[in-house]
Amino acid sequence: MSLKDLNRSLWVFHVNSGSCNGCDIEIVATLTPRYDIERFGMKLVGTPRHADVLLVTGPVTRDMEKKLRRVFDQTPDPKVVMVIGNCGSTGGVFYESYNLVGPVDRIIPVDVYVAGCPPRPEAIIEGVVKVWAKLEKRGEKK
């Protein structure tokens, strides 16, 4: 029962908290045969109940705050949150906009940030590797 078992089988769930859709399309590109993330045992799932990793895009609009928190709570432990894109990390181009409550780490705890507007698929895959490293460290501590 260590977190090490998790890192070769990461099932990801994608949450859009108000992004411009650029990052979402990059996530879809990451799932294509060209990048083949199934090599690492990753899989896109349709419900937070099956997920290990939440991929959050977008700067969290006022409307999405509660929903994001709820999706986070719906995900079974142990879980990891990855923020994809500048918006989610800092606010990006929407910084200090009147209808933002984000960035994401004000709402839910974030483990890995992937910068870029939008980040390339390679960057997203690198983020996943960071998740592995993080999980391994946590597993050692336990």
Partner: protein, 332 residues
């Protein structure tokens, strides 16, 4: 008495071997699917890693669900899938519980994992799961008819070989290859029925293109939406066991030959050769019936599933039955 005790002692062995082989086949299936899409694909052990991970995850039971039903259904599903394995011929041997149940029982047992999923979906009180459960029921109603026709036709052919042999018993069916019992017209009919059975397979085990009940891109996982952790793992194992159980049934019905008498082997050599040959046959059926179709065709809508199974597949099966009827009436 001693035989019965032996059978009971073998039950856990069959269960463990069955789970192991089914997960292995799932790994092969995923690698082959990846190769067909010009990808590298996951390692062979991926399904084992997935299951291990799911077992260590938190198991959430939704607040509004019917808790006992929600919790018990994954176990029911897995048990039913494993029980099927005891009634189908595996590795070139007679079914473990031969004489205690026949084809009709097997068909009913195959319905139980799907029913368990339906009940679990309804019990979870999620709207997505409810839609998925309804779709699952509709799919089940659609594929049952062509499947029943095919199986009854084969049993019918076998019943003509002599009086008072148990034609529906899988122990009999797998010792008498049906292909030798019919003339050219009946042969055509059997080919048609075999194709229908292979075509029913993805519906029965719920893979693409007939996975509308679990469509994760439109209804978020369907029947399994609310399942997580241990319960999800049980459903995962159950569906892969069901895959090889159904493939083993098809093997017993349409490619029942053993290789040992062709190679003129005896003793242990024969057992090993037959077991390996069985795995090869099983692999061919899983590949044709599941992997290939899964990669080649995109998901059907639920209306299309009904039309395909009730319309085309049933018509094809009835036509095959007709051909066999003509053939059998000529032979008399």
């Amino acid at each position: 008495m001693i035989e019965a005790l032996q059978a009971i002692a073998l039950i856990p062995v069959v269960a463990i071997v069955g789970i192991f082989i089914s997960l292995l086949f799932k790994g092969i299936d995923r690698i082959l699917a990846a190769r067909m899409q010009a990808r590298i694909g996951p390692p062979l052990s991926q399904p084992f890693i997935d299951v291990k991970k799911l077992f260590m995850k938190e198991n959430i039971v939704p607040k509004n669900s019917v808790k006992w039903l929600f919790e018990i259904m994954p176990i029911v599903s897995l048990t039913a899938s494993l029980v099927v394995l005891l009634y189908v011929p595996l590795f070139g041997f007679k079914p473990l519980l031969d004489g205690y149940g026949d084809l009709i029982l097997v068909i009913y047992l195959f319905a139980i994992p799907s029913l368990a999923m339906v009940l679990g979906g309804f019990a979870s009180s999620s709207r997505y799961a409810t839609i998925g459960a309804q779709r699952e029921m509709v799919t089940m109603l659609s594929y049952e008819f062509p499947l029943a026709i095919s199986i009854i036709a084969i049993a019918w052919v076998i019943s003509k070989t002599g009086t008072c042999i148990p034609a529906f018993s899988l122990g009999t069916i797998f010792t008498i290859p049906v292909w030798g019992l019919v003339g050219p017209i009946g042969f055509l009919g059997l080919v048609l029925l075999s194709l229908v059975m292979l075509f029913v397979m993805p519906g029965e085990i719920g893979t693409v293109p007939f996975d509308a009940p679990e469509a994760e891109t439109e209804i978020g996982g369907g029947v399994l939406t609310e399942y997580s952790g241990r319960n999800l793992a049980l459903f995962y194992i159950s569906s892969s066991v069901k895959t090889i159980a159904f493939a083993a049934l098809i093997v017993a019905l349409i490619i029942p030959w053993n290789i040992s008498n062709i190679l003129l082997l005896g003793g242990t050599g024969a057992i090993v050769a037959d077991a390996l040959f069985f795995l090869a046959k099983l692999f061919i059926v899983v590949f044709v019936g599941s992997t290939f179709v899964r990669v080649a065709i995109a998901r059907f809508r639920i209306t299309q599933i009904v039309k395909i199974y009730w319309g085309y597949a049933s018509l094809a099966a009835l036509f095959g039955l007709l051909l066999i009827a003509i053939d059998l009436s000529w032979m008399v």
